[in-house]
Symmetry: D2
Subunit: 342 residues, 4 copies
Amino acid sequence: MRVGVLTGGGDCPGLNAVIRAIVRKGVQEYGYAFTGFRDGWRGPLEDDTVRLDIPAVRGILPRGGTILGSSRTNPLTARDGVRRVEDTLARHGVDALITIGGEDTLGAAARLCGEYGIPCVGVPKTIDNDLSATDYTFGFDTAVGIATEAIDRLHTTAESHMRVLVVEVMGRHAGWIALHSGLAGGANVILIPEQRFDVDQVCSWVTSRFRASYAPIVVVAEGAVPKDGDMVLKDRTLDSFGHVRLSGVGEWLAAEIEKRTGKEARTTVLGHVQRGGTPSAFDRWLATRFGLHAIDAVRDGDFGAMVALRGTDIVRVPMSEATARLKTVDPALYAEVGVFFG
Amino acid sequence: MRVGVLTGGGDCPGLNAVIRAIVRKGVQEYGYAFTGFRDGWRGPLEDDTVRLDIPAVRGILPRGGTILGSSRTNPLTARDGVRRVEDTLARHGVDALITIGGEDTLGAAARLCGEYGIPCVGVPKTIDNDLSATDYTFGFDTAVGIATEAIDRLHTTAESHMRVLVVEVMGRHAGWIALHSGLAGGANVILIPEQRFDVDQVCSWVTSRFRASYAPIVVVAEGAVPKDGDMVLKDRTLDSFGHVRLSGVGEWLAAEIEKRTGKEARTTVLGHVQRGGTPSAFDRWLATRFGLHAIDAVRDGDFGAMVALRGTDIVRVPMSEATARLKTVDPALYAEVGVFFG
Amino acid sequence: MRVGVLTGGGDCPGLNAVIRAIVRKGVQEYGYAFTGFRDGWRGPLEDDTVRLDIPAVRGILPRGGTILGSSRTNPLTARDGVRRVEDTLARHGVDALITIGGEDTLGAAARLCGEYGIPCVGVPKTIDNDLSATDYTFGFDTAVGIATEAIDRLHTTAESHMRVLVVEVMGRHAGWIALHSGLAGGANVILIPEQRFDVDQVCSWVTSRFRASYAPIVVVAEGAVPKDGDMVLKDRTLDSFGHVRLSGVGEWLAAEIEKRTGKEARTTVLGHVQRGGTPSAFDRWLATRFGLHAIDAVRDGDFGAMVALRGTDIVRVPMSEATARLKTVDPALYAEVGVFFG
Amino acid sequence: MRVGVLTGGGDCPGLNAVIRAIVRKGVQEYGYAFTGFRDGWRGPLEDDTVRLDIPAVRGILPRGGTILGSSRTNPLTARDGVRRVEDTLARHGVDALITIGGEDTLGAAARLCGEYGIPCVGVPKTIDNDLSATDYTFGFDTAVGIATEAIDRLHTTAESHMRVLVVEVMGRHAGWIALHSGLAGGANVILIPEQRFDVDQVCSWVTSRFRASYAPIVVVAEGAVPKDGDMVLKDRTLDSFGHVRLSGVGEWLAAEIEKRTGKEARTTVLGHVQRGGTPSAFDRWLATRFGLHAIDAVRDGDFGAMVALRGTDIVRVPMSEATARLKTVDPALYAEVGVFFG
């Protein structure tokens, strides 16, 4: 039995922990051999492989990134993509393929498995925590921890100088990182993509905070959008993957606050710092268990399945369902934390 | 409406986050007043109170410990305890009492509520994560993070000098901290109280690890016990709370490994470092939500209830059930991570 | 004997450690009383004071910011400034004034002392480490540590995605933070204000790094400037203190690199995160010793003196000399680390 | 020109940074080739080498430990040691040897160079910071940072439970780590090997601290010794290197404090955690500069020299002088920080 492994999409602390767990259990308990594919779906498309055995996974548990590399290549939009993937798998005698990735990577795996019979098992990965079939995805806890530590640090500066500090965190379509880090960091305002914000309301919270002799910290998800008419985005460009790049909400908001309240406001954009470096203990635990259960799904021939966290259990769900819709922040939960605004 | 709050048992990162959330929501949304009781049940017993309002909870979110102090005083074993608690509550006009604590503190609250009609709501707290009614308790994630970081650091020393390093972590009756930090830290052996260990088996794992040219790290819970005949504990004393203090398993084990394998072995005992300092973002999130839901339970008059985490939801469970039995590590889960031993 | 204390300029981890050391030694060893002035020179100008005794400095050692607040108010440019300062000091019976601050704050102290006989002792503070009379200033080590940790995290993302990552760090006039954190973080290019950079040279280093199959990280000080003709700054605004605000070199450079090399480039702007939060152990040590020696200078009547670090000794230098010129990065030192570029 | 490199003695964060700097500059600027010797002097004695070139040093800057391994083997006490070292160097065509190590390793290098003409250059390494010729050694700042963070964490526990917490840190013969981390961590008592301590004095400080309603933290160097008659050491064993192992002072002291003051006392022994893991930014900077200057000393043929830090400069000193006597804590400096005791 030979198992292929690939990692697709943006990188995420914990990818290496998944790979290590798959290989350790696959080799030691089931006697499987492995083939690593390089840079997500580009690997099987272009027959680009990497040795994947016990020595290859030594020492990678605490390391961020992915030893397999990653890309956003989509086999379904590539010319002759499906056939080329099938040929590569056949050439290497790969009997099953574990795909670790987000909506796009797993969406492709679900179709390759369902429509073309390629035996895939999925492991969910999204640093934004916006996949609906699982309680959490690995990488999210690490990102929240980094953002929270940054917010902690900003408190002292905010208060020593009585300035407004705006922190822009990741989250294009879902506000999980903003919500968790904003709450954990004691932010006074948290703005998420799920709910358009009113700049005047933000300014009123900012002002009331100053009246209590504390300086406000505003956490804003990169995908948060003000109510119609409030904002003309400075930069609305396409990134290299063809997605709209909504940069600038943090700087824009700081400028608006300064203008409307007369208080100095500064911005910190954490950017890629949030997704790099060593995974938190929580993420290593989750990623490792995902890996152990993914190789079990392969052993069981449970193709089309994706591993997922439910409470403290790892379960299997159909990949197709998991990628059907985004998990966004429930308005009730957002309202719950609203008690800390202002 | 006036609400009392107390924290009992060993300290735990996140206690202040619970207190802050209770007070912020209680004052701002429900208009409640608060009375803080000092040092757990000692406060109501001896009428020792502390002011608890919005200014009192400013800035405490990231701070470890508890602004209310803590103790292991039990009102049910104190002379005239129940009456004295009732008198104190009456004297201050306290209409409901939120008790934040572990098995002992909540056990007392459950009986005071069930048998004497004192209106209590519980918030679970145990750094060992061994309460059965909740997926996780706050403080646990912080402790696992600290232990994991220590294990990460030990890897380089272990390998530069080809020594065995034994790390003793918290966990008297349950091995959760050892299991999570050992897995996250890439330990080669993890020993937990739930399953007696065989020193020869440990030595065999240690030896096989050296053969692969890596130095082994052994994580052992303070409450782990070898099979009969293997160990004579150096220190088996009573601590100030009348519990048996099983110190020394780490040092004992290192000495045994050195004797039986001929390899140098050293011990690190993390001790109280694991339960101090700022809570992790995960623990601040969980503790804050526990606090928000506890004050809601008070508003609903849901006395006898304890808040608990189930998946990503906060639910209410009867305090009496929650404290009925210890949540220990499932043998199946321990077996699952056994693939990394040796 | 009554001693006044004030902190001026931008905040800096370690300010509280200085204040605590001054008060602890002043009270315990010399029996002095203290008056805290709020918000730098604004305090004596407007007679805004704060109680400063042993209880006031409890627990502040690990905290960022300053319990005295800070501002950039200059007594020499304020109307009747000198007289108002003298009046306030006389009104409170202040016999000596310890001023903790940077070039501006100490420059004012030097003149008030030299020209008007106000008995001042100085403690140097600049997070940029650009004061010439001392080997290091506190806060710098903390800032370098934070920037280095961020760079460490970026490596995994850079390599997983083969992107150029540009990190903009503090340093308007001196490149110390860029130099130290860039070297410690293993950056491939470090750009400092002291030496105009050539974008084509940067692009050539970036390209050569990719050829070695590694993704480049470029650390740029906020005050770094390209050679004439290379750059049109996007934002060249005045900040609230009337200084030119050279924001945008990081984003500008990333765009240029993308344009000229065809490689994706992203920017992280660390901003105020670098100057907030708990001071490093090094900075607590240095700040504490500065405080202990400043109060000794007061006891010795050594007014006009500033404490400074020379090797491992704390010495005294004339404040006027200390603030005479900026300590910039020596070209020889910059050349020394150039071996790691590309 | 071929240069050999070896690392001897206990491991220390920053060793890899030195090796990387030597190789990067040696190859890129001077065109040298390198031979790595494994496990300190054992390498040349037993002709055990490892490839050392640019690819070998990629990515090692942030990693603790040493890629060359280490040992305490002494070529001067090994049978035929000098001849075997000479033979190995000749066999590989090694023209110069950079030895990175402490008193023992450099002492051997000094004699091999001075008495036998083997061309050695030294780089000082001692985590205890007790080498007299240099202001600081790398690794020390990292150890102090780890110990300080642990002490920070203990404060909350100490205060929530009103317990005495004893922290045993490294330092057999010199109290630098205890002094710096104790001061930075706000300890109430710091005990160092240089000055015998009086347990009754310690207990009196502990008691006075409790009277101020704060719980005391006592930092004790592993080599600290009470006044005659005060202590019977529990464990006074020989370690594998033939040195007396003074373990147990922390636990012994906690027991004494408990006995004499009636207050609960607990111990944390940080152990090897202090010397593992990623080096601090300060240590990476220092270690890198040591490496750059060591290879310059080789180029200059300045054999017998050791690089050292003086202020912010790297200078060269004779190895023989550097290893002549231990740098211990100056009584005046210890007295200076005594203001914080009690």
